[in-house]
Amino acid sequence: MTVVLVASWALITAGAVLALTGALGLFRLPDFYTRTHAASITDSAGASLLLLGLLLQAESFAVGIRLLLIMLFLLFTSPTAAHALAQAALKDGLKPVLGRAARR
């Protein structure tokens, strides 16, 4: 097991754990805005780490550059979509759950 392979699987595992955590947060958190927080942060971070891990195992330059492009694209669009979503919800009048109610 070379160092690169170990590093690659470490990154992949970290990414997968983050992704699972985000999905779990989507389930357990009380209201929409907190869920957006969980989903979008762990989405970008987990996906990037996972793709970086795969990048270390890429066989050729073509594969590597594609992984890099996917990662860049996700990094650009995931936060943007979350931002636009939260803004749209706010404009639409969805109120965040504050105070004691949020600490059920």
Partner: protein
């Protein structure tokens, strides 16, 4: 190892789907489906590596694109109620 990874991503997808089905407001569902799309991208990338077929990555790129466009589409619709509302651009918008 690869199988475990694929199953982990699938579990994430299933959780996102559950939120999409449950989510009390429309925005919860949009968020969940956006997450589902991103996880599908990861699943395709992992599947490509499992099968030793890197051509799958082109598909993953398309999924990422489609996911984004779908989210923007539903946002535009539920925010304003129609697609064709133009946004007034101010002069030197970047």
């Amino acid at each position: 190892m690869w199988l475990a990874l694929a199953l982990a991503v699938l579990t994430t997808m299933a959780l996102a789907l559950a939120r999409a089905l449950l989510g009390p407001t429309l925005y919860d569902r949009i968020l969940a489906i956006n997450l589902f799309g991103t996880k599908t991208v990861l699943f395709i990338a992992v599947a490509g590596f499992m099968a030793g077929r890197p051509e799958f990555l082109d598909i993953a790129l398309v999924y990422a694109l489609i996911n984004f466009i779908g989210t923007v589409a539903v946002l535009k619709l539920s925010h304003y109620g129609e697609f064709s509302r133009a946004e007034e651009l101010q002069g030197d918008d970047l």
